[in-house]
Symmetry: C2
Subunit: 469 residues, 2 copies
């Protein structure tokens, strides 16, 4: 019921705000300009071609890799060509490499013999020795279960985290959020109790044979505890492994990885800027992240967000729109395994006493847009979001709604500057089918859906630039 | 501005209605039950498996084909197994067959020589002779242009209709509606002016090498004029042909088809029914169409709608819901090229003085649902739609909106009975990528998106059954 009342109050609020202020002739002008934005994005958008280059010509763009450097140079050139002032903002990124193809198998199943499993090392993971590791495997459904088992139950074993994403969540990012602790902290927690390795069910709602990589971190390791290697296993093989464990009770698992963390490398955020004509100190940021996983070509995650962001400016320029406020298009580096670029961007921005009126991130894929999530500091959220909700009648004809929620990992550090931050909110049903896998490719992105994302963000940028927040 | 005002009045209306009537404790109960519907559809839905069978085991189900008969028997069994009273309602359907693979080529381009084109005969089309037809080709953008050219410009030629779907339409069905007259009536209109054949740009927003078939009709032929053969050409080859015509001015086109219309065949609508406990004379119909094109396996069009419709009942039964009104799940036959099933269903229903309180059709694919369109006779629309808009706060948390618009070709004849009709409204961006082509396959349907469609329809059926209209 709480949700219903919220929905109701949002509606009431919308109507009130709209009837008070938005029935001026500006609405006509705005509706017409937004229509022009959609026409330009759908007919003359460049996002899909840029994404083609980033995925099919450059490929996977893991931080510290030659491909990441190539993506920096490519997007620098594209923004420079459009006449933006482009700077490369240095940052130091972790440099993790996967090494040889991973191997994993059940070695002594009484019922099934030797069973090969589809796995991928998790990003940042340490590797096994050349001989791999072999140990009894125990299945758990949570970090808590490992803590409850304690050293007695876990020591010397490989911990198999197998809590699936909750399929009843209509918003798949909520399902992801409810299961990701296993991938992020599972290895460290298991290590604290003496485990020698971990294997994690892939974070997807599909049942298939594709393992999903992603970041693991060791910051929860107890003092003196060494990190242990960890791999993700496909959902089909997670189900199979679970069945084998249930049948056989005692099962040994083998896996071998030779991934490693090399020394940090210099890299860059790519920042394209056009100074505002009236309020140059009010910054409107639009961004995505350049880096992707190595095994993916990073089409939805987050080539789409980079292509969206650059195309927003391309569309405004094509329509001869002169921004009153400063437009800054940012390609962030290292979202996937460290956020080095986002941290450095926020640090420098705060040092310069900049004010980001807004920062809009696209990092939920290139699917059909359904609106935006909004976040801000509690003291400014009600006033600023009210202004935006007033614009709903201009956005709803394009299927866009507004809701409270996170913006994006790269821009959320800017919240402290007091602006209103947004995340593009595309349809989320297919996102985790592709996320951090080799099938996150250009062909999985629909051209029109990508273009509609550009148009949605551009429309919001136009309204914010024109009316402020 | 008119659209803005409409949006505004809808909002105001919603709020008023909601605050007046919907703050009773029923809302809590309804919200909980709708949550149960979503859980059941997402965890225990059968739609995806049924769709797998219909597409991968049965295949293309063109009216009059053995596969269409197989689909009748399959869905009869599925509904019978669920305990519905199933009847086969006879209807007589056209029986068109494609014959050998079509051939088409430019035969005398000065610049490019002989150029093969990807084509498919349009459904219902007559074939060429075994030798095919060869004639000068002229490009037009509309039926009107053919009329303007007259016999002098058209006689003895092949008319090439090449007006693309309008990419600036955010709702792709509007873009389809704006271009489909070329496919439906282009051959007949060209024949009236002496053309000997027609070739039509495929109805899709993509540029690719896949021709899209679909229905053509000859009911606009003048008296004494013979029908002429017509094919659809892929958008890439349409662009190429247009370029060749522009360069060469005089170009001859050859194409050969040996499709033909055989004698009509008996077939069936499949009707599953559960009598309502309180108002058995108020019928709630949920339906899709069983037939598809021969070259497609008809996954989105309209296997998805059939699977949706049967699964709505499966979900209600799983939740032990006892309908107060009569639930009727209908698999219509022959939507694609004649609507024989829909016409017969409406005829029999009217003859029996039945009353369809509502009829909900799913025939826009198995994509992520965004709501419903509603239609009714003008005298009842305001009252009945008002009741439904009151339910928006229960539907919006699932991303569902309501708008005025058509229901579906199979159920719209029931409008005369005075009920409120609905069409499921999934995201439309990808629909015409697959429509009437060999790539409209099971893999192109996302399991969760299909399941969410089931949940959306079931939620609406629940509210209508509980509260009436």
């Amino acid at each position: 019921m709480k949700k219903l009342l919220l929905a109701f109050s949002l509606l009431l609020f919308t109507v009130t705000a709209f009837s008070q202020e938005n029935t001026t002739s500006n609405s006509d002008e705005d509706a017409l300009f937004i229509r022009e934005i959609y026409d330009a994005a759908l007919l003359k958008g460049r996002a899909y071609d840029w994404l083609n280059y980033m995925t099919n010509q450059i490929g996977g763009r893991l931080s510290g890799s030659p491909q990441a450097a190539s993506a920096v140079e490519y997007t620098r050139q594209m923004m420079d060509t459009m006449g933006m002032d482009v700077t490369l903002q240095p940052c130091i990124v972790p440099h993790w490499v996967r090494g040889n193809k991973e191997q994993a198998r059940v070695v002594n199943s009484k019922s099934m013999g030797t069973v090969e499993l589809d796995v991928l090392a998790l990003g940042n993971s340490v590797g096994t020795s050349d001989y791999g590791i072999t140990a009894p495997v125990i299945e758990v459904k949570s970090l808590q279960e490992v803590m409850d088992l304690g050293k007695e139950g876990v020591s010397g074993k490989i911990v198999f985290y197998n809590r699936p994403m909750d399929a009843t969540q209509v918003k798949t990012f909520n399902a992801y959020g409810g299961a990701a602790d296993q991938r992020v902290h599972g290895a460290a927690v298991a290590a604290n109790y003496g485990a020698i390795g971990a294997i994690v069910r892939s974070l997807t709602l599909r049942t298939d044979d594709i393992p999903h990589t992603g970041s693991t971190v060791y910051n929860q390791l107890n003092e003196g505890v060494e990190p242990i290697p960890v791999v993700a296993v496909s959902t089909m093989d997670a189900d199979l492994l679970s069945d084998i464990i249930e049948n056989d009770k005692e099962v040994d698992l083998f896996f071998r990885t030779n991934c490693q963390m090399l020394k940090p490398e210099p890299s860059y955020n790519v920042i394209g800027e056009i100074k505002g004509s009236e309020f140059p100190n009010e910054i409107i940021l639009i961004g995505g992240h350049l880096d992707s996983w190595d095994v993916a070509t990073g089409a939805h995650d987050d080539g789409a967000g980079c292509a969206h962001s650059m195309d927003v400016y391309q569309v405004l320029k094509r329509l001869n729109y002169q921004p009153k406020r400063t437009i800054r298009v940012v390609m962030f580096m290292n979202e996937e395994n460290g956020l080095a670029g986002a941290k450095e961007y926020a640090r420098v921005s705060n040092e310069k006493n900049e004010y980001h009126l807004t920062a809009i991130e696209s990092d939920r894929g290139g699917f059909s847009p359904r609106g935006f999530t909004m976040q801000a500091k509690p003291d400014v959220f009600p006033i600023k979001s009210k202004k935006v909700i007033k614009w709903l009648p201009l956005l709803r004809p394009y299927g866009l709604e507004l809701e409270k929620g996170g913006s994006g990992a790269d821009v959320s550090p800017l919240k402290s500057q007091g602006g209103l931050l947004f995340g593009l909110n595309p349809d989320s049903q297919r996102y985790f089918d592709y996320h951090h896998t080799p099938i996150d490719v250009w062909d999985a992105v629909n051209k029109r859906e990508l273009q509609l994302g550009v148009a949605a963000i551009t429309s919001l940028v136009y309204l914010i630039d024109k009316y402020g927040l």
